[in-house]
Amino acid sequence: MTTIIIAVLGAIMIAAAVLAIVQKSLLSAVIAAGAISLLASLLYIVLAAPDVAMTEAAIGSGLTTIVFLFALNKIRKEDKHG
Amino acid sequence: MELAGAIITLIGSIFLFLGALGLLRMPDIFNRMQAGTKATTLGSILFLTGSAMAHAECTCTGKIVILILFIIFTNPLSSHALARAAHFIGIPLAKKTVKDDLAEDEKKEEGGQL
């Protein structure tokens, strides 16, 4: 069972990583990067590292996305001015 | 008891699946959200309840209850925030859409201000 979970989640992660690089839209790339972290924290549970899973869920998918969004917001705002 | 728990879990997972399928099939973002929010909410509630029932020996009922209440409260909230944003940035509605009161009212308001 765990092997199937790892295979499926891993395939999704690789697809999301490619999506994050290939995407033209910055917001979509950030969302895809968030999805990678989200799935990585599931894998950490399979790997018996719950502390890491919790940290990754909290930081990787939550705060990193938020920090990226604030940065994008600054850049977009300047866009509107110029 | 355990068998009932497992069956409830199975029903929940089918709802999760249907929600994801609806996400894929629906024509525009609001309809997708409808399918996504409702089906995944009930699906996850059933899944969690079933898991707690199927493993009666675990002392996790309190945490599962908190998780369910939390999902019921936040899932519609985030859907609402997203729907509002999507409407604001003007994502086109599906061709089948009959009416849009919000857009009309917003137009009226802008007209009134000018």
Partner: protein, 86 residues
Amino acid sequence: MVNIIYQIAGAIALAAILLAFIRMIKGPTAADRVVALDAMTIISISLIIFLAATLQRVIYIDIALVYGLISFVGIVAIARYLERGI
């Protein structure tokens, strides 16, 4: 018997994540991708509980709590970014 039904339920949840991810690839707009991400997080919470039950550790449920909480904040952040509110 119980175990087999339970495992089938887990497999269906896994397939649901896959379907939601296909919506994320297809897009077409960023908002659609966020909706897909939202659905993926909720399904993942179920999957975490499934893993906790399969691996027989009660303490993994805490992760599901943190996961749900933080993903809610993340989705709200993206929504507020889209409507130019932050």
